[in-house]
C-alpha cells in the first residue's frame, strides 16, 4: 500500500519573546490507508501542532519552517491558500478536543454537517442529510433520524463529540486528525467515542492521526504509536511492541504512571475528624442537588469521592466549606458542628479546613508573588511577619520541592501548571490544616506532572497526618492514593467503603460500569469490552 501522508523532516517555529523559536524539531512520519497513528506526549510536546500541519495549517504566531508534507502526491508546504482550502475537509478533516466549543451554538447539528460538502460542491443538501443520518446510526447515536435536528446544546458531551466525528466524515476525507477527542469526557462516555472512532477507522478504512496524552486510550485505537517530547520524536513503534517492550526511559515512565503507589496503613481506630450526617443541599430552593449524604473521614486518611460530572461531588465540597449552605443534616468537624454558612464559622475552623482547586491557573491571583500567596495565610492565621514569615515561607517551599531562592519572588504567572499546583498546596499547608479538600487537583495536569503532585500529597500526609477528601473522576488516581472510596451518582452516594472492598467484586452495578470503563494498557481491552457489552445487551 502506498502512503497517504508523508511528512519529512518537519520543522515548525513559533514567535515567542520577539524571536522565532522551534516548536517541532525534525519530525518525520508516514500514514497508510486504513492505518491509525497515535501521537502521544505531554502538553508542549508539539503533537497538536503536527496534527494541524498534516492539513497544511499552523496556529497563529507559528510557521512551517522547513521540511515536506506530502498528501497523496500534493506538497502542502508552501501551497497556496486556495489549494489548501480545497483539500481541507475533503481530503483531511479535523476533530477537535472540545466539541462543545467547535459547534456553532445557533445552528442545528445536521446543518453544520452538510455545510462543508455542499460548499465544496460534492453533494446536495438532501443527500448530505441522508448520509448524516446513516453516519449517526453507525456511530451509535440515539434516534439517528432525529438527533441531527437538535441544537448543539441539546446534546450531551459524548453525543456532541460523536456528531463531530460524523461531521469530519461528511466530505469523505481519507485522513482524519483526532485531537484529544475524549480528554474532556467522563470514562463512561469516553468508551462511546472510542467505539465510534474505531468504527470509522476499521470498518470504513480511513487513515487517522490520533492525538492524546493518555497511552491507555491510544493503545485501543492505534496501530502504531509515536511518542513525542518537547517537539522531538522519542520513540515510534507498533502498538503492541511499544507497550510490551518500550526502548526509551521516557516511554517507560509514561507506561508506569498508572501503577499503584505503596499505601500506608491507617489506624482504624484513629479519630474521625469529619463526620457528615444525612446532608442535603440545593441551589434553587427546591430539587436537592445532593441528598442523604453520610460520610466519615478519619485522621490521616485519604477519602476519594468519585463520580461523573454532574454527580454532585463538587457541590458536596461547597457544602462542607460553607460556600453553599446545607438545607438539612449536620457536618461535624473535629467533634464540633460546623455552621452552615461561611460567615458564621470561626477563624480556626476555616484554618483547619483548606481547599486545593482543579485549575491552578485561576486558583492563584496572577498579580501576586509566591511570597504573598504563601505569606498571607501565615500572617492572617498566625500573625507571622517579617523574618519569621520569610523563614516559614522558605520552609514551605522546600516542603513542596521548589527551590526558595528561585521561586519566592516570582509572580504566579511565571510558573508552570505543576509548579502552580505545588504553590496551591503550600498555601493550604501554610494554614496547618487537619483536612484538605482536593477538587480534581490533577485533572488539568499532564500525567507525569500529576504523578509528581500525587506523590507529594502522599508524602506530606505521611509526615503531617493530614487527611484528604479527594474529589476526582479519574479512577486511576483513586486506585493510586485512596484509603477509602465513596462513589456518587446523581447526587447520592451509591457505594462506599475501604478501597479493597470497593474495588473487588461484588460491586454496585454503577461502580461496576465505572470500573470497567477505565482504559487498560492492553490493546484488546476495548474490543473485549464492546463484545461483552454487545452480548449482554442484545
Amino acid at each position: 500500500m502506498s502512503n497517504l501522508l508523508k511528512i519529512r523532516n518537519l520543522h515548525i517555529e513559533g514567535f515567542y519573546e520577539n524571536q522565532w523559536q522551534p516548536i517541532v524539531k525534525n519530525v518525520s512520519l508516514e500514514l497508510k490507508r486504513g492505518e491509525v497513528l497515535g501521537l502521544i506526549g505531554e502538553s508542549g510536546a508539539g503533537k497538536s501542532t503536527i496534527g494541524l500541519a498534516a492539513m497544511g495549517y499552523t496556529r497563529q504566531g507559528c510557521r512551517l519552517a522547513s521540511g515536506s508534507i506530502d498528501l497523496e502526491g500534493t506538497e502542502l508546504f508552501g501551497a497556496s491558500d486556495e489549494d489548501l482550502r480545497l483539500i481541507r475537509g475533503s481530503k483531511v478533516a479535523y476533530v477537535a478536543q472540545s466539541a462543545a466549543a467547535s459547534f456553532n451554538p445557533s445552528h442545528r447539528v445536521i446543518r453544520q454537517y452538510a455545510e462543508a460538502p455542499v460548499h465544496h460542491g460534492l453533494k446536495s443538501y438532501k443527500e448530505a442529510e441522508e448520509e448524516a443520518v446513516e453516519l449517526y446510526r453507525r456511530l451509535f447515536l440515539p434516534t439517528p433520524e432525529k438527533i441531527g435536528y437538535r441544537f448543539p446544546h441539546e446534546l450531551s458531551g459524548g453525543q456532541l463529540q460523536r456528531a463531530m466525528v460524523a461531521m469530519a466524515m461528511s466530505c469523505e476525507p481519507d485522513i482524519i486528525v483526532f485531537d484529544e477527542p475524549t480528554t474532556a469526557l467522563d470514562v463512561t462516555t469516553q468508551i462511546e467515542v472510542l467505539a465510534a472512532v474505531k468504527e470509522i477507522t476499521e470498518k470504513m478504512n480511513k487513515a487517522a492521526l490520533y492525538i492524546t496524552h493518555d497511552l491507555a486510550v491510544v493503545a485501543q485505537v492505534a496501530h502504531r504509536i509515536m511518542v513525542l517530547r518537547n517537539g522531538k520524536m522519542v520513540e515510534e513503534g507498533e502498538t503492541r511492541r511499544l507497550i510490551k517492550n518500550p526502548k526509551e526511559k521516557y516511554t517507560r515512565d509514561l507506561l508506569n504512571v498508572r501503577k499503584s503507589m505503596d499505601n500506608h496503613e491507617i489506624d482504624p481506630s484513629s479519630d474521625v475528624i469529619l463526620n457528615i450526617n444525612n446532608v442535603a443541599a440545593t441551589y434553587t430552593g427546591h430539587d436537592n442537588v445532593i441528598e442523604d449524604i453520610d460520610l466519615k473521614v478519619q485522621r490521616g486518611q485519604t477519602v476519594a469521592l468519585v463520580g461523573e460530572s454532574g454527580s454532585g461531588k463538587s457541590t458536596l465540597a461547597r457544602v462542607i466549606t460553607g460556600l453553599l449552605p446545607r438545607t438539612t443534616g449536620d457536618i461535624s468537624f473535629l467533634g464540633q458542628s460546623l455552621s452552615t454558612t461561611l460567615k458564621q464559622r470561626k477563624k480556626d475552623d476555616l484554618r483547619r479546613l483548606q481547599m486545593i482547586y482543579q485549575m491552578p491557573d485561576t486558583a492563584l491571583n496572577p498579580r501576586h508573588t509566591v511570597r504573598k500567596v504563601i505569606g498571607r495565610p501565615l500572617k492572617f492565621y498566625f500573625g507571622l511577619k517579617g523574618k519569621a514569615a520569610e523563614l516559614r515561607i522558605r520552609e514551605l517551599l522546600e516542603k513542596i520541592e521548589l527551590n526558595p531562592d528561585a521561586y519566592i519572588d516570582r509572580l504566579t504567572t511565571e510558573l508552570s501548571g505543576g509548579e502552580k499546583q505545588r504553590i496551591c498546596i503550600a498555601r493550604a499547608l501554610a494554614a496547618e490544616p487537619e483536612l484538605i479538600i482536593c477538587d480534581e487537583v490533577t485533572s488539568a495536569l499532564d500525567q507525569l506532572v500529576a504523578e509528581g503532585i500525587l506523590n507529594l500529597l502522599q508524602d506530606l500526609q505521611n509526615k503531617t497526618d493530614v487527611s484528604y477528601l479527594f474529589i476526582t473522576h479519574d479512577l486511576a488516581t483513586v486506585k493510586a492514593i485512596a484509603d477509602k472510596i465513596v462513589i456518587m451518582l446523581q447526587g447520592k452516594i451509591v457505594e462506599q467503603g475501604e478501597k479493597k472492598k470497593v474495588l473487588s467484586p461484588p460491586h454496585h452495578t454503577y461502580t461496576d460500569k465505572l470500573l470497567a470503563s477505565v482504559p487498560k494498557m492492553d490493546p484488546d481491552w476495548l474490543d473485549t469490552l464492546l463484545e461483552e457489552r454487545a452480548s449482554t445487551y442484545l
Partner: protein, 272 residues
Amino acid sequence: MFKLIKQSPVSARIGMLIVGLNLAVALFAPLIAPYEETGVVGDVWETSSSAFLLGTDHIGRDLFTRMVYGARNTIALSFTITGLSFFMGVFMGFVAAVKKGWVDQGISRVVDIIMAFPTLIFALMVLSIMGPSVPTLIFTIAILDSTRVFRLSRAVAMDIEVLEFVEAARLRGEGLWWIIRHEILPNAMPPLMAEFGLRFCFVFLFIAALSFLGLGLQPPLADWGGMVRENAGAINFGILIPLIPAAAIAVLTVGVNLIVDWFLHLSSGLHE
C-alpha cells in the same frame, strides 16, 4: 515603568509629549505667564505682537497669560473630579460585585436613577440651585461621572470575583476590604486605567461645556471653555481668538486619548 515607556509606540509618545507639556505649563504657570491672570494690559482683541504673543481678549487681557493659567485651572479641576469620581465609582462597584444581593440591587438602582437623567441637564439643575462654586462643581460632576465608573468597575469585578483565587480568599476568612484591595483591584487595573484617561477627557469637555453656558468656573478665573465663550463674539469680526483655547482643548484631548489607546492595547494582551 521606565522600560514600559521605552517600548511605547510613536503615537503614545506624542500623547505623552502633549500631556507632559500641558502639565509643565500648568505647574509653572506663574513663571511662564508674562502678565497677571486677571490684569487688563492692552486693547480689546489686539492681534499678536511682540508684547502679546497671542493677542488680547475681549477686555484687553493677554491671551497667552490666560491660556497658561487656564491650563492650570482646567487640568487641576478635571484631575480632581476624575480622581474623586473614580474613588467613589470603583469602591461602590467593587462592593456591589463582591457583596451581591440587596447591596448590589440598592446601589445599582440608585445609579440607574441618576443615569436616567441626561447629565448636562442634571448638572445644570444642580448648579443653578446650588450656585456655581468650585466645590459644588467638583462634587456634582464627580457624582454624575462616578455612575459610569460604577458600571464598568462592577462588571470588571464580577468577572474577577468568580475566579477561584477570590473564593480561596473567602474560604480563608478574608474581609471585604482585603478582597477588594488585594485580589480584585490589581486585576482590574488595566481597564480602569484606560477608562480613567477617557473619563478625564470627558470631564474636561464637560467643564468646557458648562463654562460655555456660564455655569463652570466663574470669571475672572481663566479656563479654556470659558475663554471660548467670552471671546465667541470675535468670530463675527474675523478674529480667530476663540479658536485658540478651543484648539488647546482638542489637542489635550487627543494627547490623552493617544496614551489611553496604548494602555487599552497593553491590557488587551495583544503585543504585536
